[in-house]
Amino acid sequence: MTEPLLQVHNLRVEFPTRRGTLVAVDDVSFHIDPGEVLGVVGESGAGKSMTGSAVIGLLEPPGRIASGQILLEGKRIDNLSQDRLQQIRGRRIGAIFQDPLTSLNPLYTVGRQLVETILTHTDMTRGEARRHALNMLKEVGIPAAENRIDSYPHQFSGGMRQRVVIALALCTNPRLIIADEPTTALDVSIQAQIIALLRRLCRDHGTSVMLVTHDMGVIAEIADRVAVMYAGRVVEIGSVRDVIKAPHHPYTEGLMGSIPTVGHHVERLTQIDGSMPRLTDIPPGCAFHPRCKYAFDRCHRERPDLENKGGSHSACWLEADRVRHSPAEA
């Protein structure tokens, strides 16, 4: 058994506000094995991006890790100083964000940004760094990389910019990449290119990826395992096949049913009524119970924890009580 690359234990992220403390991420635990792609999926406000930011230590104040541990290759990284974290970030953890335009500096050429990143984190000389930068640009599929290396970010299209960002994240050969909605700002045909690229690069370099997205289709294409988040908690986690084909949590089930798919004709989509609770009023018990068609007494009172349901792990009282009130029977 190899040691997981990343372990997150009982992570809790809080935002102190004037009207009390908001819990954006609540008791979240998961791990990522070397070379594995973990998808983190959920709707806006589910806490998925916040979890990603916590792992790379980029929580925006006043947000803070209130409790829990984050371990990279067995060593804690959640309690490091900013200086130490800076060394890890970029060197061992890379990041790809949604909007490629804001994650590149518009004032520097892409070559300079790549070279500087490489120089900061490795022992290469400037000449080596530039050669390596050029190779990275070629590897992510920038045509005529020799000519484009001295271009500025605005001279690239959206898809090409995202390729540059991927090159930037991979240029120091990190062990883990946090990719936060890497394809959301792109068109579908470009999205497919970027997904294929990410998958190939991670396979070649043995890099693990934590892929944060709201798009189950992207998860199905690229991830090995998936964690489904709802209202700051992981409600279901398991292999992509288990979660997509045999979801245990009613939220996952509803989510899957609500996605229209080409080739599966349905008259009406499954509808989860209501919307995700705001962080200010997360209901007691299971946070999903007001929208859950199976909810019973216990769901209103007690908060379920993740447990093995055969296949995936899910946080739901249903099978624990071995009553599956399907609406047809009720």
């Binding site: 709707e43 806006s44 299209s157 898809g159 090409m160 068109d187 579908v188 045909s189 470009i190 999205q191 497919a192 290119q193 997904i195 294929a196 709201h214 798009d215 189950m216 289709g217 992207v218 199905a220 294409e221 992509v240 096949r241 997509i244 084909k245 509803g254 989510l255 899957m256 049913g257 609500s258 996605i259 229209p260 798919t261 080409v262 080739g263 004709h265 349905v266 008259e267 009406r268 989509l269 499954t270 509808q271 989860i272 009524d273 919307s275 995700m276």
Partner: protein, 335 residues
């Protein structure tokens, strides 16, 4: 198929002048520059249908939507609503009766509702503008009715837009669009800004309303899965031009245009087939300087010399569908 379609676009084109300022043109001897956002778009929408226009960003689908409802004036071509060319009607007065009958739902429910107005005033605006209902009490009642129709409570009328979630705001937009009893709704990416579970609610609502009120939709979207779920007919756009128009069933089963095939191939799906996709290289070119010939030829695996020089014209298939591709016409590609 019935005789007169509810909406017919004939050779519709819209150019935008993106020229440099006059002084620069004079000093630098540069000419006018036009962005051809929409070029030669012809289609028919029958009553009660959902016609989806699909394409990537910058393909001109939203411009078509805005042309149809009259937010832009066409550069060329006709927009016929029940046989009357409304694109040619210049005076407000003349357009008025047609405008009431077609309404629009916008993409971003955070930007399309005035944050300083109460919901009741937002929804009542069309009622007042078209003088459909008069009297405070009557307006309140009608607004309550509309709110109930879209799954909100009549009491929500006294709130402001910021008190609602994205999905609820989109419901308010729909209620406002329905206020003038339209027959035709232009929906420009109505669910793109929403989460999937909320998207399902809105799509279900749109289907229910269509059935109940016999609405006709022009649905603009980039999401093929939404198209598959909603549309009877589909038009695929690329760089301002329609490349294929077909019944939804046929289009998804037998796409003919190489671009349609590309789009269908690249949609990530939940099949877990594990098949390696071959993503098509290249990106959408700049519409200010589109490639000559077929605009898709730089990315098309089947392009030949003719595609690089000659613009393909729509080939009707006799059943109202069409495809604009030299390869299909010559029989090089399976039709």
């Amino acid at each position: 198929m019935s005789a007169t379609p509810l909406l017919k676009l004939d050779g519709l084109a819209r150019y935008f002048d993106v020229s440099p300022p006059l002084l620069n043109r004079l000093l630098e001897r540069r000419g006018h520059v036009y962005l051809r956002a929409v070029e030669e778009v012809s289609l028919e929408i029958q009553k009660g249908q959902t016609f989806a226009l699909v394409g990537e960003s910058g393909c001109g689908k939203s411009t078509v939507a805005r042309l149809v409802v009259g937010l832009y004036a066409p550069t060329r071509g006709k927009i016929e609503f029940e046989g009357v060319d409304i694109g040619g009607l210049r005076s407000r007065q003349a357009r008025f009766p047609y405008q009431r009958r077609m309404q629009m739902i916008f993409q971003d429910p955070f930007a399309s509702l005035n944050p300083r107005w109460r919901v009741v005033d937002i929804i009542a605006e069309p009622l007042r503008a078209y003088r459909l209902v008069s009297g405070r009490q009557a307006i309140r009642e009608r607004v309550g009715e509309l709110l109930t129709q879209v799954g909100l409570s009549p009491h929500d009328g006294s709130k402001y837009p910021h008190e609602f979630s994205g999905g609820q705001r989109q419901r308010i937009s729909i209620a406002r669009a329905l206020a003038s009893n339209p027959e035709f709704l232009v929906c420009d990416e109505p669910t793109s800004a929403l989460d999937v579970s909320v998207q399902a609610q809105i799509l279900n609502l749109m289907k229910d309303l269509q059935k109940r009120m016999e609405l006709t939709y022009l649905l603009i979207t980039h999401d093929l899965a939404v198209v598959y779920h909603m549309a009877n007919r589909v038009g695929v756009m690329y760089l301002g031009r329609l490349c294929e128009v077909e019944d939804a069933k046929t289009l998804f089963a037998r796409p003919r245009h190489p671009y349609t095939k590309l789009l269908l191939d690249t949609v990530p799906n939940l099949d877990l087939s594990g098949k390696e996709r071959v993503p098509v290289a290249g990106e959408v070119p700049n519409p200010i300087n589109p490639p000559p010939g077929c605009v898709f030829h730089p990315r098309c695996p089947h392009a030949n010399e003719r595609c690089r020089t000659e613009v393909p014209h729509p080939i009707p298939d006799g059943e109202g569908g069409m495809v604009a591709c030299h390869g299909v016409q010559e029989g090089r590609l399976p039709a």
